[in-house]
């Protein structure tokens, strides 16, 4: 559990960071909270020569809330997401989900940007962001561009982000008032990734459903959302079951995970419906 040698960089601006990435190429990686990246380096599964630490980039911190949207800096920690009362009022499902991520120690340093940028199918935020129809703002050495969360994930650890791009901000449209929500997650213990997790928003004739750790990317199903919006719970579940593709691991075999996914989804739907007004 000892990483290989690397150079450490601590740029003072996003532009400088992006410049470093394009200059150093493949051998460089940005470092946010480090709680996904550093374990991989210690296992020598990631062998990097340069770490570009984003810790000093104030432009990537902070949460802004307007009437129609929420903008979250990529370097906002999961703990900060939980602690922000205004955010909890505007998009309550974020706090509910963040509280189910890892443990307090991890949440104090792990960031939302690192969580969504990593492309780890086990991470909870990507599915949640798809459910919320969030947009990621990424910046390379040129002008920044926007990528919808639902189009971001290609396969495990592969995303639409270019190597030299930095994810700076996440833009989330505020769900209409009275939207019911729920984030349900089954896990073996505190600090564990999901056996199955479901994010559900429903209300005002609309619905959105996304699942976590049941495929090599998060699973957002348009059909499931449509079905649920029309009040067809069975159709929603069927659409999700058709879309997931879990792999077996120490949490259990595929058959078990599929069954649990259905249970967790139903629970999330029940709870979201009970909160919709």
């Amino acid at each position: 559990m000892i990483p290989g040698a690397f150079e450490y960089h601590r740029p003072a601006s996003v532009a400088e960071a992006a410049g470093l990435l394009s200059q150093l190429g493949d051998d460089a990686r940005v470092l946010a909270g480090g709680h996904s990246l550093i374990p991989m380096m210690k296992l020598r599964m990631a062998d990097l020569s340069h770490l570009v630490d984003l810790q000093d980039l104030d432009e990537m911190k902070g949460i802004k809330i307007t009437v129609s949207s929420v903008t979250i800096g990529a370097m906002v920690t999961q703990h900060e997401l939980i602690a922000d009362d205004a955010l909890a009022a505007a998009v309550p499902i974020i706090r509910e989900a963040a509280l189910q991520i890892a443990d307090p120690q991890v949440r104090y340093v792990g960031t939302i940007g690192g969580n969504v940028a990593n492309g780890d199918p086990g991470n909870d935020m990507p599915g949640l962001m798809q459910c919320l129809n969030a947009t990621y703002e990424v910046q390379g050495t040129e002008a920044s561009r926007m990528i919808n969360a639902r189009e971001f994930y290609e396969s495990a650890y592969f995303t639409a982000r270019e190597e030299e791009e930095i994810l700076t901000r996440i833009h989330i449209p505020r769900p209409a008032g009275g939207t019911g929500y729920a984030y349900e997650k089954q896990k073996r213990k505190i600090g564990d990734y999901a056996t199955a997790a479901a994010a559900v928003l429903v209300g005002g004739g609309e619905a959105s459903v996304a699942m976590t750790n049941l495929s090599d990317t998060p699973v957002w199903s348009q059909d499931a959302g449509k079905a649920l919006a029309s009040g067809d719970v069975e159709g929603c579940v069927a659409a999700v079951m058709g879309a997931i593709d879990p792999a077996d691991d120490m949490r259990g075999p595929v058959e078990f995970k599929k069954h649990v996914a259905g249970m967790i989804l139903r629970r999330a739907i029940d709870r979201a419906l009970s909160r919709a007004s």
Partner: protein
């Protein structure tokens, strides 16, 4: 100088002796991060060693090329078996009479096995070196199933002569290690043949790992000028390590100093001898510099001592009324690639023959077959006395299976079979003499405390609701009454590698009435410095706060066999009391002299000797201590100290009654421990708070084992649970609230009547949690399912019972 207005009770309270919930003196440093563990040791010029480990479970090592590794700046040496061979150190003896490769000698037998030792200036360079050592392997067929091993043509241990006996007698097959038989086979089979009722079941206790917070490690420092080797390490038995190190290295024993500093949990993981210890010593001798080796978590989970992995086939015979008439058990024990179990020499399956449990079973038979497979070696007593957890799990499952067959309440079935209080000392069918017990009293107290009848009613109601579709949750009630056997042990029976299992204590009283005591044991978190001072305080009347306790340095501590198997209090605790009594006897003579009366005319009174019939005439222990050093007393040597080496006449037999309630979600397999009640009887209670802490910790480890913790391999022998993401360690979140209780049945043969408690909660806890899960499914026809009861296995049980319609 002593306040005469204090009552004897007040004076006793001031001593903080036995019975006082004195706060742990160790915690001052532990809670401030000021402990001193092996990895805290830093010596001038210290080097660091790290292992190249096998990625294969079974393979030939064709070649090892260290050229590139040696080019890494800071890498000084790469040691292989070839380098150790001239010293005779490429293999080492195991505690079980087998031998184990220190570094791969031609082949590897488990994934993670040590292949080469890279020595570097720091651990970073060592890790870089490890990456660059090129090892060429030729894969061999892998066997991870012990039953298959006994059929297979594949020879795992090519170094052993298949025709020759092993350390424990004849071997039946090239992958067989030993057969160990206890009890009366013919008589037991006769009873089984004629019994009203016989149940048979395979009870599997899965492979797990003690996984202490601190992993294993050592620092070896060979001083070439003095010829002295100092070895710091995570040793649960430092003196034994010194003797064994001397015997295998040829270094004279007085030139070896072994030090166990603070140890961050052992649970049996730190009893054995590991290749890392040997390699750090050799590397220090070769380089002339201190060399440190410390495992990381994956090393620890993959290579140093696992626990359990017992397949226990059982048969139990009973009358129609439920009186047990006989017990039969055949165990297939998976020992991995080398037999490195930590058991007393004469007990290759430990004390598995305590498997008649708390019950009066007239005849019994036990046979254990040890088997080699391509898994890591070990088989240590993970928070239990040797194999006692396996035995308790076996009998407590068999009782439940019998209750199902008889359609009886399992609490009642236990009650009618308990050994009765007036049967102690009790001779068990498998050869033990239980010292004392009162099982009925404990059981009734436990059932009453949890309102057992009320619970059963509630459970019946919930079952009805379940069947009516009103809930998807089932309620299970877990029962366990366990009997342990701890405190090894009489030297006539118990030795490890020929070293007798006595223990020791040396006490020195200082002139001002404070003291230092040293023991042959070593605390790994049990709080010895707190409790043993309390024994001395009560025995000689000096405040526990004025007594320093030291363990773990073989240059200063008296010889002893260390701490595991709950033996510290039964053995070293007894030695402590006996040494204190020697001091008290001398103090009595000094007091009599000072008071100008005959020795027999003074008597001990809490913290002083008083003249019989004249309590106003006394000498306090503090006054006596001062006089012992500074006053010429005719016929007495100056000084006040004593040492005791204690060879216990018998083991002690703690017991307990545990009851828990679990709620099970049949759709997701999630479980929730609603309540847990633990009644422990460990004889005389020295520090109730420490006992409670030990019970909480042991129950939490039991929860882990029963509900999720396992060492799993795939069929290629790949280790699947080498990180704490997959190896379950409960956090406070998963840990239920425990209710603790006790009865007190002192051990008749122990000087203070104490029995040892640290391991009881693991021994009793595992069957209790497991029985609760089984009990929830009993109405649907479940008799036996395998631990750990993680979500998917519980779900699978529900599915197989048709509960997911």
């Amino acid at each position: 100088m002593n306040d005469q207005t204090l009552t004897p009770e007040e004076r006793a309270a001031n001593l903080k002796g036995m019975g006082s919930s004195r706060k742990r003196v160790e915690d001052v440093r532990f809670t401030q991060g000021k402990g001193n563990y092996v990895d805290d040791i830093k010596l001038d010029g210290m080097l660091f060693g790290d292992f190249v480990r096998s990625p294969y479970a079974h393979a030939r090592v064709v070649s090892i090329n260290a050229e590139e590794a040696l080019k890494v700046p800071g890498v000084l040496a790469v040691i292989t078996a070839k380098d150790l061979e001239p010293l005779g150190l490429h293999w080492m003896p195991t505690l079980a009479g087998d031998k184990q490769m220190v570094l791969a000698d031609g082949k590897v037998l488990f994934q993670g096995q040590e292949v080469a030792f890279v020595v570097a200036e720091d651990r970073y360079a060592a890790a870089d070196g490890v990456e660059l050592v090129e090892v060429e392997y030729e894969e061999l067929p892998v066997i991870v199933d012990p039953f298959e091993a006994l059929q297979s043509d594949v020879v795992l241990r090519e170094d052993l002569d298949p025709a020759a006996d092993g350390a424990h007698g004849p071997r039946k097959h090239h992958n067989h290690i030993f057969t160990w038989e206890q009890g009366d086979k013919d008589a037991t089979e006769a009873v089984l043949a004629e019994a009203d009722v016989v149940v048979e079941e395979m009870v599997y206790y899965h492979r797990t790992h003690p996984c202490p917070l601190e992993t294993c490690g050592s620092v070896a420092s060979m001083d070439k000028v003095t010829g002295k080797l100092t070895l710091w390490g995570t040793f649960q038995a430092p003196h034994a390590v010194r003797t064994v190190a001397s015997l295998i290295s040829g270094i004279a024993e007085h030139n070896i100093r072994v030090i166990s500093p603070d140890i961050g949990g052992g649970f049996g993981n730190k009893v054995g001898v590991y290749p890392g210890y040997i390699c750090s010593i050799v590397a220090s001798i070769v380089t002339g510099k201190p060399v440190k080796w410390v495992e990381d978590r994956m090393d620890n989970l993959m290579s140093t001592a696992f626990a359990r992995d017992y397949w226990m086939q059982g048969k139990i015979a009973a009358t129609k009324e439920g009186k047990i008439t006989g017990l039969w058990c055949h165990t297939t024990a998976d020992h991995g690639g080398f037999d490195a179990c930590a058991d007393p020499t004469k007990f290759p399956a430990g004390f598995m023959n305590i498997c008649t449990g708390s019950y009066d079973i007239p005849v019994a038979y036990l046979a254990v077959d040890g088997v080699y497979t391509n898994k890591a070696p070990g088989g240590v007593a993970y928070r239990c006395s040797f194999r006692v957890t396996e035995a308790a799990y076996f009998i407590e499952r068999m009782i439940e299976v019998l209750a199902i067959k008889l359609n009886m309440d399992a609490a009642e079935l236990r009650r009618i079979n308990f050994i009765k209080a007036d049967q102690f000392p009790y001779q068990s069918a498998l050869g033990w003499e239980y010292d004392s017990g009162d099982y009925h009293t404990a059981w009734d107290k436990a059932l009453k405390a949890v309102d057992y009848e009320g619970l059963r009613k509630e459970q019946a109601q919930q079952l009805e609701d379940f069947k009516a579709g009103k809930t998807r949750k089932l309620m299970g009630i877990g029962l366990t009454h366990f009997t342990e056997i701890v405190g090894a042990g009489p030297v006539k029976n118990c030795d490890i590698l020929g070293l007798g299992m006595f223990d020791s204590c040396e006490i020195r009283i200082h002139p001002t009435g404070s003291a230092i005591a040293r023991l042959g044991t070593i605390s790994q978190g049990q709080g010895h410095a707190t409790t043993f001072a309390q024994i001395i305080a009560s025995e000689i009347g000096l405040p526990a706060d004025d007594i320093t306790l030291e363990e773990g340095d073989t240059d200063t501590a008296p010889y002893g066999l260390g701490t595991y198997g709950s033996r510290s209090t039964p053995v070293a605790g007894a030695a402590t009391a006996m040494a204190a009594r020697k001091i008290r006897a001398k103090a009595q003579m000094i007091a009599a002299y000072l008071l100008e009366v005959h020795d027999d005319d003074v008597e001990f009174d809490v913290d002083r000797f008083v003249v019989k019939g004249a309590p106003e005439r006394f000498k306090t222990m503090k006054e006596i201590a001062f006089a012992a050093y500074n006053q010429a007393i005719p016929g007495l040597e100056p000084g006040l100290e004593a040492v005791s080496y204690y060879d216990p006449p018998n083991m002690t037999y703690p017991f307990g009654a545990y009851i828990c309630v679990v709620d099970i979600d049949v759709d997701t397999g999630e479980t929730d421990i609603r309540s847990f009640y633990a009644l422990d009887d460990c004889g005389t209670r020295i520090n109730p708070m420490i006992i409670e802490g030990q019970v909480h910790g042991g129950l939490t480890e039991a929860l882990a084992i029963a509900m999720g913790q396992e060492i799993a391999y795939d069929e290629m022998g790949n280790h699947k649970t080498a990180t704490l993401m997959d190896f379950f360690i409960p956090t406070s979140w998963e840990t239920p609230t425990y209710v603790t209780d006790h009865t007190t049945t002192p051990s008749p043969h122990h000087p203070i009547g104490a029995k040892g408690v640290g391991e009881s909660p693991n021994v009793g806890g595992v069957p209790c949690f497991s029985n609760a899960v089984h009990d929830a499914f009993r109405p649907f026809g479940l008799t036996q399912s395998h631990m750990p009861h993680d979500h998917w296995r519980v779900w699978k049980t529900a599915r197989e019972l048709g509960l997911h319609a």
